[in-house]
């Protein structure tokens, strides 16, 4: 190690390092502040200009000033220097600045290492297939820069790129072994910074008119489901989220800290299914309405919502069993029933008046329910995602003047009507329906499938689901989504294209799903399952380490053996000549190392006169290929050898 560590960097290595820096910085610009992107662009341009003109790089004093200013700017932007976003911003700035400090080979090594590190930071923002592919290319580029740094200037770009690719390909088996066998730890190791999982949308825990409409246009996937048996029809799929019981006149909220006291009477056989839930930063899960089998660390609260012990801040899988036909809490706690009759005092007088009229005339609660549903069905109510703004008496405005709205308006108005008529009722938030991907059979539920419905409690029947939206827009429930396009009127060609696009989208989503299911969700549990399937139950981390070490040793041995013993192939003529010599060796004629072909022929003529003639032709053909004017006479040589006895 007694070598000069500060060998100067040769000028022609610099473009490689710049390309590596650019490839690792570029994807970050998408989600970074504009000033930051501009700063980075300026620094890169400056570095490129200096390189072009072969000028001296700025001195360290100036660079120190830029570092300080950048840190201040990052602090002002993010209010911190740590955490995910600020940390990444700093790394990106350092990478760009390192381009102004490329003096020695050691600086080059720093750039490469930083480049590898920056690649990791992209996964904070996306782990999709395109990100993976782009980063693979960036990885290739950074590795090429690393090779270029160490090879000296006489290697061609082509050979460097090829070498980098071959090294990465050879590293793949190690990656596979490590990925499968490295003892997995389920993170996080410590409290994650505030911004670790920001920027994820999903169903909210409270409902103010408009909140679901915002989701209705969002095509992101909320979760995917795979049923063990057949997928039930869409109109039965009510994915239950938070139940909102408290109403203050504008916003519906769940009651906090409800003690669990659920009693489910199962009528239909439960269905088993697995949900892959995208991160939504909430604790509730989304199960079909009456879960009978729950995943570990999950409980049911008193309103039949499955709740997990931890906040779901990453994509996770849960196995459930649910029944679609059931009775729930036929004997309900009177406190809870009272709570579900609560209405803000003095709000929505018209609605209250209507409900009290119904209550006076109706013989049974069911009749009130029917009256309300008939009202929605017959009184020109319109299902729309662009309802007019409602005044302070939201329910009155909706029921008696605008009559335009979507699920949350109908659910809220219905519950207010029920409560006013003395029937315990509440709003349930969640998703309804879903779309089966024909490619892989997964049911995909999107944010646009977000839905709100209501639940009423009837004597002797318990809580039953009423979906008032169905009274207005049955298609919303049957098809599982709002028919925005009205595709029936479209010309055939355009329909064909729509079908084709849909098919394409299905395929793409199936690939994405497989990617998520098979690759991204590989964790401690999956690792255990895999080993169990290989016949290794209860593998501890020590066993894994031993197995891993074994695998890596075998791989190292194999790759070493393979790479070390690659020799140059002799040219075809020499190979054929050796073949002829092997023929002779069978007749106990061995060519001495110093013997020329003619000398050998001479010896053959005296020792084995029988062989002399055919071997003479071989020698002539060989000498002709080797030293003759005419090239490509290999075939003659081949024929001559074939005629050897």
């Amino acid at each position: 190690m007694s070598r000069p560590a500060h060998r100067p960097l040769d000028q022609t290595a610099r473009p490689w390092l710049m390309a590596a820096a650019l490839a690792t910085i570029l994807p970050h610009l998408e989600h970074q502040a504009l000033w930051l992107s501009s700063l980075i662009g300026l620094m890169l341009l400056w570095a490129a200009w200096l390189w072009q003109r072969n000028e001296r790089l700025p001195n360290s004093g100036l660079l120190a000033i830029i570092v300080c200013l950048s840190c201040c700017a990052v602090y002002l932007e993010y209010q911190t220097l740590f955490g995910r976003d600020a940390g990444v911003a700093l790394l990106v700035i350092f990478m760009a600045m390192k381009m102004l400090e490329l003096k020695t080979r050691r600086d080059g090594m720093v750039v490469v290492t930083l480049g590898y590190f920056l690649l990791l930071t992209h996964y904070f923002y996306s782990q999709s297939i395109p990100t993976g592919l782009w980063l693979l290319i960036a990885l290739w580029l950074v590795t090429s820069a690393l090779i270029r740094l160490n090879s000296g200037p006489d290697a061609t770009p082509r050979s460097i790129l090829r070498y980098a690719a071959s090294l990465l390909v050879q590293a793949l088996p190690f990656m596979l072994a490590l990925y499968l066998l490295f003892p997995r730890i389920n993170g996080p190791l410590w409290g994650l910074p505030q911004d670790a999982h920001s920027g994820k949308t999903g169903l909210s825990e409270q409902m103010t008119p408009g909140s679901i409409a915002h989701l209705a246009l969002n095509n992101d996937i909320a979760f995917r489901v795979r049923f063990d048996a057949e997928t039930p029809p869409g109109k039965l799929l009510y994915w239950r989220g938070p139940v909102m019981e408290y109403f203050d006149g504008t916003t519906w909220r769940p009651q906090p800290n409800r003690p669990g006291s659920e009693r489910i009477e199962v009528i239909a056989t439960p269905l088993s299914y697995e949900i892959t839930l995208e991160a939504h930063n909430q604790r509730w899960l989304l199960a079909l309405d009456a879960p009978t089998g729950l995943p570990p660390e999950t409980g049911l609260n008193g309103t039949l919502t499955a709740t997990h012990r931890q906040i779901i801040n990453e994509r996770r899988q849960f196995r459930f069993a649910s029944t679609l036909d059931y009775r729930f809490n036929v004997a309900e706690n009177p406190n809870i029933l009272r709570r579900n009759l609560q209405l803000p005092a003095g709000r929505n007088p018209q609605t209250l008046k209507l409900a009290s009229e119904w209550r006076a005339t109706a013989k049974a609660p069911e009749e009130v329910v029917n009256k309300a549903l008939t009202l929605f069905a017959e009184q020109n109510f319109v299902y729309t995602l662009q309802p007019p703004l409602l005044g302070p008496e939201g329910v009155d405005d909706f029921l008696f003047s605008s009559r335009r709205g979507f699920c949350e308006h109908y659910a809220a108005a219905f519950v207010v009507l029920m409560r006013a008529a003395g029937i315990p009722a509440r709003v349930v938030g969640g998703y309804q329906g879903g779309e089966v991907n024909p490619v892989d059979g997964y049911l995909t539920v999107r944010q646009s499938d977000a839905h709100a419905w209501s639940e009423i409690w009837l004597e002797g029947r318990g809580w039953i689901r009423i979906d008032p939206t169905a009274a207005v827009s049955p298609a919303r429930i049957e098809n599982g989504r709002i028919d925005q396009s009205g595709s029936a009127n479209l010309p055939a060609l355009s329909q064909l294209r729509t079908a084709w696009l849909k098919n394409l989208r299905h395929r793409w989503e199936a690939i994405n799903n497989a990617w998520n299911q098979q690759i991204l969700s590989y964790d401690m549990q999956r690792q255990r399952q895999l080993l169990a399937r290989l016949g290794w139950q209860e593998a501890g981390w020590q066993d894994l380490v031993i197995l891993l070490a074994l695998c890596c040793t075998i791989l190292l041995g194999a790759i070493t053996a393979w790479t070390l013993h690659q020799k140059t192939q002799p040219d075809p003529a020499t190979r054929l000549w050796h073949k002829a010599l092997r023929h002779l060796a069978r007749r106990q004629v061995n060519c001495a190392p110093w013997e020329t072909p003619n000398a050998l022929l001479h010896r053959v003529q005296t020792e084995h006169p029988m062989l002399a003639e055919p071997f003479g032709r071989v020698v002539n053909a060989y000498l002709d290929v080797r030293y003759g004017r005419t090239s490509n006479n290999l075939n003659l040589l081949r024929e001559a050898i074939a005629q050897l006895p």
Binding site: G152, F174, L556, L564
Partner: protein, 317 residues
Amino acid sequence: MKLLAQLKQALFRWQSDGTAPLRLGQRRIFIIPSRGGLLFVSALVVMLIGAINYSLALGHALVFLLAGLGLVGMIHTFRNLYDLVITPGRCDAVFAGEIAYFELRLDNERATARRALTFEADAEHPVTVTVDAGKMLKIAIPQRTIRRGWCELSRIRLSSEYPIGLFHAWSYLQPAMRCLVFPTPVMTPLPAPSATNHQGTQRGAAGQEDFSGFRLRQPTDSLHHVAWKASARIPDSNDLLVKQFAGGSALELQLDWALTDPALPDETRLGILCGWVLQADASGQRYGLRLPGHKIAPADTKNQRLACLQLLALFAL
């Protein structure tokens, strides 16, 4: 102690390996992570912690791929040296203080180039070369010489960090190569030539055929050698010309240790003699060399210079 010495030889090649072509095998190649490698490993550790903490599946994959790259890179760095065939070549004699160039022939029998091979005999003069796929390359390892005599090629350190620079692989080479180092010449005027102790008639028959020209007569030249006719043809001059013969000179220089100043150190005296040999050889004179206990008779063979310089180089060693 003997075992320890054997071990040291096996590991570090303090003594010569002999002259046969040397094929670098696995027992001769050492490999450790370089500084860049340590930086890389620490970056990987931080990346792995980050990937675990944020549960990044692709982060895990990236870290593991890079770890694999490191392992593969280790093999390839090793492979860059492995199976390289090194054959000692020749080395021309130099004068002390000059740089001796030891020629080595490198054979790469593999189908890929071996790049960034650095040979160092002394730390000031590293030689970095690339041996292309299936090619042979001759390189000269420079080594500064200090004293006259045989200069053994010191242990060569062959090292490389190609391709990924995360590992430093090296090997010690000690081919049996030595370079003859002549004394550093000290340039002082030549001593006067003395008359030959051969009789003119004895060598005349052969010498006269090799007549090569005239030169001005010096006082020490015998009158027998004066070319009277030629001298007479020079107008208005009292100078006499002496015939010169390529095959033998009428006069000869006897470069004698005793002619040098005994007050000077021995090495300087040898240097003076060396300077004389060079000057005498350059002027085409017939010269001999006499050192205590050694004598090279005056001759004008082509080997005379080499024989004299060799004697000077190895005198009393």
